[in-house]
Symmetry: C2
Subunit: 343 residues, 2 copies
């Protein structure tokens, strides 16, 4: 490790936003030294409440996140936001510009906004997001929000870094609720029907209820306009946490307090049930596995390059000289021998 | 390699169905020696037309596949079917039983049916399926059909082993067509609206058309009941292959000839466009990468066990003694050193 990394980490821990920004840039670009930095930060993490927010484009995520940040600030809490777009290889300049303007509306740097994009390495985006969250956590932000577009596997992997996941659903003809079936229903702790003043909102709430009920759980509906008016239905053997549906009109800041209360309920549940510890174990195990897998893939990738690259190997297979299993044995066999020889 | 594997391969290449069945069992269970077997078979592959068929449960895949197999047999072609269910850890006995009965209706073993299941190793199922297809191909089956339930990422990975992919869609209120958006639209070469005698079939065909049009391609609609009555719409810069929508009533064998004609059109397109070769290259490269990744993950997995297992490592992280990046460096560093030392 160089002194650059050590002093960057010292500055970050000392509360310097410029150092925080540089660390996240290093993490995003996998710049040399980023691993040592995350290693150093690790022991300072574990204090922030991490909330993941996902939902289809146009659901109103940015607006809701901005209102959330404002309420947190009013309560004297510091906030970090990582906005991740797995579908775009580059950070949209306009979007980033807008967000920085909004951030400055809040009036101080304690709402720290940051966009991240795939930069051609989609597989690594969830790891990079988790590392950026660690930087914000170690910095001392009380609340860290991960905001991501969409409901695909990449987005699901990204919000896994959060303790609590909120899924935003726009009021609609039902199409969007149907789309939720593909995995997002399982990861949502809180569902937010935003733009609850539009036609179709009640139908969307009802459809969400039905879908969550089909999962065999309990759920309750919190009326965004008049606090929690709970409808609690027990369908027998359910999940330990009952997903909550909240209605908001983010542009008017309506329902935001109720939404934050639902998030806090979930955080309390995590503590009381021992689920927070279980999740932490699971997340660390997954982090270790992912890093090991990536590192091992890097080693065999280099070995393939040393042997002339993948194209030459494909040619050899297509010309009938060898086959993929023989190639795998040739490339990884010596690695295995190396490991065995150390015993 | 033992003489068991050599003689099993010799028997398979000699046309013995019992040897084919044993080879696929070894592949499915990753029994010792299966890699050598697939290596030996590899040079005998590349002659079968491989068709992948996917679609939601109840779309009528089994019935359509059975009718396809019957038509192929009538034409004097040999057929192999691999039915894969990624959602079920075990092969459903009843389903398998039904299928065997249907197979025997066709009257001879040249329609070779085989079910495969995840057996707790979902990640490896697409590799195992591709290997089973190679066994059928090397055996000399003219047509190999991969049938799989659903439209998730696992199913998409599974049908990637096919040259041509058909997606079955039941006539519906639109829900199922909406579900297709999640990735399956891109992999379908031929779309089949089965149960075309039911209400909603025309609407489903129309919705499919619209969705494929949104993708910017051309498409044509083949009327299942009266041959191809093509509606060809050019929307400018499209795909090289224009996905075709076919209507069938598989239970009545209606539209099956038209469906097979659409598959053959696609096979011709693959040959004429050079796309078959491009796909083969891509597939071999992907096979090599997957095997290398899996083997490398196996080596680091063993190394983790040697160090006390993942649980001990997680404990060490949670107690603040280390962090995932340091663990990854410790585990894979020596591997990298080993490789470097060989230069």
């Amino acid at each position: 490790m160089t002194s650059v990394e050590s002093s960057l980490v010292a500055d970050l821990l000392d509360g310097k936003h410029r150092a925080l920004a540089r660390v996240i840039t290093k993490i995003e670009n996998r710049e040399s030294g980023y691993r040592d930095i995350v290693s150093l930060l690790y022991e300072h993490t574990g204090n922030a409440d991490v909330v993941g927010i996902t939902g289809s484009p146009g659901a109103g995520k940015s607006t809701l996140v901005d209102k959330m940040a404002r309420v947190y600030r009013d309560r004297g809490l510091t906030v970090g936001v990582v906005a991740v777009d797995p579908s775009s290889p580059f950070t949209g300049g306009a979007v980033l510009g807008d967000r920085i303007r909004m951030a400055s509306n809040v009036g101080d740097m304690d709402v720290f906004f940051r966009s991240m994009s795939a930069r051609g390495n989609l597989g690594g985006l969830s790891t990079a997001t988790a590392d950026a969250v660690k930087a914000l956590d170690a910095f001392g932000k009380d609340k860290v929000i991960i905001e991501t577009v969409g409901a695909g596997q990449n987005e699901i992997d990204i919000v896994r870094a959060a303790d609590t996941v909120a899924v935003l659903v726009p009021p609609s003809s039902g199409d969007n609720v149907q789309m939720l079936k593909a995995g997002i229903l399982e990861i949502g702790d809180v569902f937010v029907v935003n733009k609850a003043d539009l036609a179709g909102a009640d139908k969307t709430v009802q459809e969400l209820e039905e879908m969550i009920h089909m999962g065999g759980g309990k759920m309750r509906v919190a009326g965004g306009h008049h606090g929690f008016s709970d409808v609690e239905v027990d369908l027998g053997e359910g999940r330990a946490w009952d997903p909550v549906v909240v209605e908001t009109v983010a542009t008017q800041a309506e329902g935001v307090d109720e939404f934050l209360a639902a998030l806090e309920d979930h955080q309390d549940y995590l503590d009381d049930s021992g689920e927070r510890e279980r999740k932490a174990r699971q997340r660390v195990a997954e982090e270790i596995r992912t890093l090991l897998r990536d590192d091992a893939a890097g080693i065999v990738g280099d070995e393939v390059e040393r042997r002339g690259g993948i194209d030459d190997l494909v040619d050899a297979v297509l010309e009938g000289e060898t086959d993929p299993y023989s190639i795998a044995d040739e490339v990884t066999g010596p690695l295995r021998d190396c490991v065995d020889a150390r015993d």
